[in-house]
Amino acid sequence: MNQFVTLFVGGLFLGAIYSLVALGFVTVFKATHVINFAQGSVLLLGAYVIARAHESVGFALAVALGVLAAAVASVLIDAVLIRRIRRADLGTLAILTLGVDILLATELSRRIGTDVLNIGAPWGSDVTEVAGIRVATSRVLAGGVAAVLVAGFWLAFKFTDFGIAMRSAAEDGEVASLMGIRLNRVAATAWALAGALAAIGGLFLTSFPAAGVTGSVGLLALATIPAVVLGGFDSPGGAVLGGLIIGVVSVLTAGYQEELSFLGRGLGGVAPFAVMLLVLLVRPSGLFGTREVTRV
């Protein structure tokens, strides 16, 4: 029982980080209908900038720089590339971001080389004990930051002009622009937010207990794809829940590997995708995704 609780809590905290990255995916998709495969390398860029900068400017400023760099890079992808072919179909746009991802990830991993860059977080390897369960302090912080960001996001989405603009852009772009909403500005804001969320996700994915920033950190964003899909691609709430589910599932399958060994060992990486397929069988648009209703 104790093991289950430990695993479950550990999974939730890991899932909180996935939620942030997944939220970035969904924001971009809602505002511009792009599946952004470059999210992984933007995450790596954010983490890389933090790791390189923290020794000279201090941790807090380094985080600000990393978040800024990721946000700017993300906006540039939209403004320089995506905007030119905004009307292209989903597949084309997705492959375009994939091309960008290959470029950015190749250059960053070349710069990192064999290094394992320390992210320089002041909480280091501290551990927090809550009700007999010991969790890395960085994970607790990640959970807190994620909760605050998600709540802020929700409020902004519901009550600010940006939120209304974005929702109407997602609903029907042409009508929205007729109503005087500047779609390009909405798009840029959404991409900037996604970049910032990726950088923060990257910060926590590379601090303790992870080793640090390596060339392959960008691949971690792949783990959030099942989260986004099973939550529903256009649902921010779904992305958050999806992230938590994926975190818990992957930690639980790893922790109970011995009991699950009849399914083959090393399930931790596959289980999220299997869960995703099962959910899609029952709900083809994910848990909270808008169902396409066809009226004749």
Partner: protein, 334 residues
């Protein structure tokens, strides 16, 4: 008349390739041919039926492993056919999900198949050999072995497995292109295009949408399976790592930069994606800009990766209909 003459010259030139070219070019050519066949299948699915799939590598793997397993037990030609059918069955089994799930959800759901496949290929050691992989039995046709054992020499060139497989590849590619072209223009092909453009319109025209989608998935998987068999033969030994996410992404890139929905475009995309890194590597010694491997700086490998990324971006931005679109545009001008 001159068209037939041109075709005949092309056939003769292609048939003469093994006499002139080194093993490297044959190997690269065979990998490209395998990719062409599989990419045609994906092009039918994505471009014509409008279903995005990232699972293609999985079906390619089914074909490859299916052949490697069966060819030890039944004649290789039968094993080839059976492997293709097996891939088709796998596609049909996945089609209930494909039929229910649409567009982007399908694309990303199919990603799950690739990861599940990796897990299965690594763990079903009895059939796949696990991480060690399996040796692929050589092809043979009516007693003619596709190996170097018979010591066949043509015009002074010893004909080994690569030289012989080259012809098998040519035949399979020709058949695949021919079938693909016909399918696109046939009634089912037009029905699929209607399904892509509007499922509602298709349904009101009496097209059984679910059945057609399932059929598209099955045909596409069979193409993947055939590509897989040729890939396995070109390798001689297959390991799970060859059929991962990167291969699936490569296929999607082939189809998109070739021009989705165009059979010829998919073939061009396949050649571009498969051969570019191999050829860049080949000439890396003579490209002055590239750093020596191990000396830091941008080496040939990174350069080829960067070029690959840049090519994707450039084609999508400046040649919206892909490579096939470029050709058509030119034709229209002339």
């Amino acid at each position: 008349m001159s068209r037939w003459l041109g075709a005949a010259v092309v056939v003769v030139l292609l048939a003469a390739v093994p006499i002139w070219f080194e093993a490297f070019w044959l190997q690269t050519g065979l990998f490209a041919m395998a990719a062409i066949i599989a990419a045609i299948g994906l092009s039918i699915l994505v471009g014509i039926a409008g279903q995005l799939s990232l699972a293609h590598a999985f079906f390619v793997a089914i074909g490859a492993y299916g052949y490697a397993y069966l060819a030890d037990r039944i004649p290789p030609l039968l094993a080839l056919v059976a492997a293709v059918l097996l891939a088709g069955v796998a596609g049909a089994l996945f089609s209930p999900i494909a039929g229910r799930v649409r567009g982007i959800y399908l694309g990303l759901a199919s990603l799950g198949l690739v990861f599940l496949g990796q897990h299965i290929f690594q763990n079903a050691t009895g059939i796949t050999g696990g991480y060690r992989g399996v040796a692929v039995p050589p092809f043979s046709l009516f007693g003619f072995e596709f190996t170097g054992a018979d010591g066949l020499v043509v015009l002074g060139v010893p004909y080994g497995p690569l030289e012989k497989l080259w012809y098998l590849g040519l035949v399979l590619v020709a058949l695949s292109l021919w079938y693909g072209h016909n399918l696109v223009r046939s009634r089912p092909g037009r029905a699929l295009a209607t399904v892509r453009d509007s499922e509602v319109a298709a349904a009101t025209n009496g097209i059984d949408v679910v059945r057609y989608k399932a059929a598209a998935f099955t045909v596409s998987s069979m193409y993947a399976g055939l590509g897989g068999v040729l890939m396995a033969l070109a390798f001689g030994r297959i390991v799970p790592e060859s059929f991962g996410l990167l291969l699936s992404i490569d296929f999607l890139v082939m189809v998109v930069i070739g021009g989705a929905g165009s059979v010829g475009g998919a073939a061009a995309g396949a050649v571009f994606v498969t051969a570019l890194p191999l050829i860049l590597n080949h000439y890396s010694g003579s490209l002055p800009l590239l750093a020596e491997p191990g000396s830091g700086g941008v080496g040939a490998a990174e350069f080829s990766r960067l070029l690959y990324g840049a090519a994707i971006v450039a084609v999508l931005l400046f040649a919206r209909d892909g490579l096939a679109g470029l050709v058509h545009r030119k034709e229209r001008v002339v």
